[in-house]
């Protein structure tokens, strides 16, 4: 388990994290969301033992992570930049990780590389961005660590590369019971394979929920009324938003799906369909309910 307890981290004149608390259970695929500059990378670096928190405690499986070589055997950080390996071939990169990670598996490495077919003797400086990211993910997964931290793992990848990388991560999670923490500002990507998401904003978590629970608890009903209804028309429902769009009325409400649909149908709309919400939409509506300007969040 990953645990942040009252962690504060400041950069000169601004506070990145302030009395930050978070728990990420083992085996979880955690998506860390936030705008640019929200502190996602900082959080991952603190988690990886790269940065030291100004106060508070960060533990992995109960052990402090900072300057703790033994605990760091359990974690591996794949940074958003892989330029430090430009002078190495994939084989050398593999040897690099194999040197430091006792559980590194050549078999796993070869298996993954057979999927993406990266050249092993070519310097990574000659790889495309996507290829470099793939190379890093292959090595990261083959290292066999319990925790894998990915900073903007999919940034700049084309859709097919993205898919490949995601598949590798998902397979690794299934095979090794790995805990993965991925940071991104792309909700769509996080939605596809994370089971828990958190939104970091101004040094604290605005949002930290199980994705299934999140999705199961907020719904969008698209219907057609002759007159745009008001929230007060549905007193039993926890309405987040009612809006008119393209001739339809969209009602965003929290609660059970069936109950929400039933209550709306009682008002006899012409059309009434339950529309699945994307993670993005869920966040937007949740934040607006918290009086946050959604344009400043995403």
């Amino acid at each position: 388990m990953i645990k942040f307890e009252n962690v504060t981290k400041k950069y000169e004149d601004f506070t990145v994290l302030e009395n930050f608390n978070l728990e990420i259970p083992t085996g979880c695929a955690y998506g860390l969301l936030g705008t640019n500059g929200a502190g996602k990378s900082t959080l991952l670096r603190i988690l990886s033992g790269v940065y030291k928190p100004d106060s508070g405690k960060v533990t992995i499986d109960g052990e402090d992570i900072y300057d703790n070589a033994k605990t760091k055997q359990k974690i591996l950080l794949i940074s958003d930049e892989t330029s430090q390996f430009n002078g190495m071939t994939l084989l050398q990169m593999k040897k690099f990780y194999k040197t430091f990670y006792a559980k590194f598996s050549d078999e796993k490495f070869n298996q993954l590389n057979n999927i993406v077919n990266l050249p092993v003797n070519k310097k990574l400086g000659g790889f495309s961005k996507g290829m470099k990211r793939q190379a890093a993910v292959i090595c990261g997964i083959a290292a066999g660590t319990d925790y894998l931290f990915l900073d903007e793992a999919f940034d700049g990848l084309d859709p097919s590369m993205r898919s490949e990388v995601k598949k590798m991560i998902i397979d690794a999670m299934c095979d090794n019971d790995m805990t993965v923490v991925t940071s991104s500002h792309n909700l769509h990507e996080i939605e596809e394979y994370c089971d828990t998401v958190g939104l970091l904003h101004h040094g604290s978590m605005l949002f930290n929920k199980d994705l299934g629970e999140l999705k199961g608890n907020i719904h969008k009903v698209q219907c057609k009324f002759e007159k745009l209804p008001e929230k007060e028309d549905f007193p039993e429902l926890d309405i987040l938003l009612i809006e008119e769009k393209n001739g339809f009325t969209n009602i965003i409400a929290k609660g059970g799906a069936d109950e929400t649909l039933e209550k709306i149908k009682e008002k006899s709309p012409n059309v009434c369909d339950l529309i699945p919400l994307s993670l993005k939409e869920i966040f937007i509506y949740e934040m607006e309910a918290l009086n946050y300007d959604r344009t400043k969040l995403m």
Partner: protein, 702 residues
């Protein structure tokens, strides 16, 4: 610290720096083995030349050539160490590298020592065996060096032995310099977040450390009348890593040539240098440990380090420019000093901040620094370096004083308490002389006063003062001091020194034969060197003569004391030599002289032939018209001595026009260079010599 993570990280860094290992191997070869090879070849060539009786051409690779190669290699090595060390610490200035390396399962200590020791290994692993090889090569020339030094005909060959050991010491010293460069670069890089800052400020730190010392010492000593740099100051410079040892060697070399002291010759300075170097390593460890990794990419992780280095550089420049512009009075000079110093400081601040935001604070900091430095420098100037010129050693701590200069025929030594007191009084009077300035005191100019302390240290002052119509302060000092009772002559003291007897005497002797063109001819006498113990014996004999030839009225030794023979005892001065009248003429056959003088009866077959060789009298000049033989003074004072009486029987004034009857070397000169010839008739010469030897031996200090 477990070795597991350290070993892995160390191995990883070594692999990364493989290529550097080769580069440093080449540079270390050029710094160690190549100079040794060149030295060996030079010595071999000179021996070959000597064996050919100095006939024909010889390859004479000059010292300057291999010194140039060596220092060029050192310079390149220094640059390479700075750049490669800074670049290897990528995690300090490259964010992706920081993320990867700092997240590895390696502790900070393992990572730091892995970086540090892998760099040490790469930089120095080849230096050690190459130094061993260079040592073997250099020392393989030892026999040739000794052979050449034993030749009487060329003084310059004697320089090869100290040169040989100087070469070895410099090669050892260079690795200490490299170590300092490496450690200080690591220290600065630990405080920086950018590669360019690491490199630039590493160089700044290395320059500032000795530079600030030298620039303020230069300024200080420019106001101290009587001295420039003392040995203590040069030694202090030598303590400062990394370049202090080289700077101090250069300063000492200019004065003492191959007798210059290196850091290796000064154990305490070596220890302090290494302690400071280790301190920087420890500092690098802790600076790296507590640095905020998030500041990577910023010029300096610790702003205080940046400020200290930048301001210290400014302080150094203010001192250096003040020394340069010292002669310019007034506002212009001050303005120029401030301007040049501020340009550098301002540029460093702008490079760090990348904007003019807060530049007002920058200006204020500089103004404050400048004000403090300027006040200090003004105080030095106005107080004549805090009256350091007037500082003299404690009289009770002085063992002897040696004075030389324009009005001294030779170095004069004062040991008696009254004499020491007298010199102090005259020195203090001289210090009040307003026209007094720093002079050379050598080569017959000015005045040099050396206080040799009981501890062995030497406190020296060199003065000059212009002669005017109204006075000549140096001459006045000389006259007053010469009235004091002197002890031994400086050169005499030199003769007593082990260095002199062991080395100088061995190498100084040469025949002064001249060809028809007046050119000195140096025949090859490979076995002609004099054993040191023999020169000691001769020195003792001559000492007796000297002591008894002292004229208390003038405080001078007025005699030329000649033993018989033709070999000049010459002073070595680099590759030149000059016949120095203050030394004694020692004849080629003096070895026989010593034996004969000691034991004339048992000299056996080696007894010199008085007809073909010179006889063994000494002759002298007198200060007044009284005719006084050195021996005769003793003889006079010992007129009851039977041997003296016997000897005196054979001395008669030579009759004019009847030179053929007498031994022509027997002359008594007066100070006007007039002489009266006293001779011993040829038929009496042997008997006179025998009598003379007997009374001389009896009266000599053995």
């Amino acid at each position: 610290m477990t070795t597991n993570g350290f070993g892995k990280y160390f191995g990883f860094k070594l692999k990364k720096r493989r290529a550097q290992l080769f580069v440093f191997a080449v540079l270390n070869f050029l710094t160690t083995i190549l100079p040794a090879i060149i030295f060996k070849n030079m010595i071999s060539g000179m021996r070959e030349y000597a064996n050919r009786n100095f006939d024909g051409e010889h390859s004479d690779v000059s010292y300057e050539f291999f010194i140039m190669i060596m220092f060029l290699s050192v310079a390149i090595s220094v640059i390479m160490i700075i750049v490669t060390t800074a670049r290897s610490l990528k995690l300090y200035y490259n964010r992706p590298a920081m993320d990867t390396l700092c997240s590895l399962p390696v502790s900070y200590s393992q990572r730091f020592w892995g970086d540090f020791l892998s760099g040490l290994f790469v930089n120095f692993i080849t230096y050690i065996p190459f130094f061993g090889i260079s040592l073997l090569i250099t020392l393989s020339a030892k026999s040739d060096v000794e052979y050449l030094a034993g030749l009487k005909e060329s003084i310059r060959f004697s320089n090869y032995e100290p040169l040989m050991y100087l070469l070895i010491k410099v090669i050892i010293m260079i690795i200490i310099v490299y170590l300092g460069v490496y450690v200080m670069t690591t220290f600065v890089s630990s405080a920086c977040g950018k590669l360019s800052s690491s490199i630039v400020f590493s160089v700044i730190l290395m320059v500032v450390l000795p530079g600030i010392f030298i620039s303020y010492a230069d300024f200080f000593y420019s106001f101290v009348i009587g001295t420039e740099y003392t040995k203590e100051i040069m030694s202090a410079i030598g303590m400062l890593p990394p370049f202090g040892p080289l700077v101090a060697l250069k300063m000492d070399f200019e004065q003492n040539y191959f007798g210059a002291e290196t850091l290796i010759d000064q154990p305490i300075c070596l220890i302090i240098n290494l302690v400071l170097t280790v301190s920087f390593a420890v500092g690098a460890y802790f600076i790296g440990k507590y640095r905020k990794a998030e500041r990577v990419g910023q010029g300096f992780v610790y702003e205080s380090v940046h400020q200290v280095l930048s301001l210290t550089l400014s302080v150094m420049l203010i001192g250096a420019f003040s020394f340069k512009y010292n002669s310019e009075e007034g506002v212009v000079g001050i303005f120029l000093i401030a301007l040049f110093s501020f340009l550098v400081y301002g540029a460093l601040e702008l490079a760090q901040k990348k904007s003019f935001k807060g530049f007002g604070i920058t200006v204020l900091k500089f103004v404050g620094t400048f004000a403090v430095c300027f006040a200090f420098l003004t105080a030095i100037k106005n107080t004549n370096a805090f009256n350091y010129s007037k500082k003299l050693p404690n009289e009770s701590s002085v063992k002897e004083i040696v004075v030389s200069g324009e009005y001294f025929a030779r170095e004069t030594c004062y040991r008696a308490d009254e004499s020491i007191k007298g010199v102090f009084e005259e020195h203090k009077k001289l210090l009040d002389e307003p026209s007094l300035s720093t002079g050379s005191g050598y080569d017959g100019e000015g005045l040099t006063i050396q206080y040799i302390l009981n501890s062995g240290k030497v406190f020296q002052r060199n003065y000059n003062a212009p002669k005017t119509d109204t006075g000549d302060p140096i001459r006045d000092f000389t006259r007053n001091v010469q009235k004091l009772k002197s002890s031994d002559m400086g050169s005499y003291g030199l003769m007593e020194s082990k260095d002199f007897t062991n080395i100088r005497a061995k190498f100084d002797l040469r025949p002064t034969d001249y060809d028809e063109n007046g050119k000195a001819v140096y025949p090859n006498f490979p076995q002609g060197n004099i054993l040191p113990e023999k020169t000691e014996e001769l020195a003792k004999l001559l000492r007796y003569d000297l002591e008894n030839n002292y004229n208390a009225n003038d405080g001078r030794y007025n005699s030329e004391i000649k033993t018989l023979g033709e070999v000049d005892f010459s002073r070595i001065d680099g590759e030149e030599f000059e016949a120095w009248d203050n030394y004694f003429n020692i004849y080629e056959t003096y070895e026989k002289t010593v034996e004969f003088l000691k034991n004339p009866d048992n000299y056996g077959d080696s007894q010199p032939d008085v007809n073909s060789e010179k006889n063994y009298f000494v002759s002298c000049k007198t200060v007044d018209n009284s005719i006084r033989l050195v021996i005769s003074e003793n003889l006079t004072s010992n007129s009851d001595n039977a041997n003296v009486k016997e000897f005196l029987k054979y001395i008669e004034m030579r009759e004019n026009g009847k030179d053929e009857l007498y031994s022509e070397l027997f002359r008594i000169h007066d100070l006007n260079n007039q002489f009266v010839e006293y001779g011993i008739r040829k038929e009496n010469e042997k008997a006179a010599i025998e009598a003379f030897i007997k009374c001389h031996n009896e009266l000599s200090v053995q």
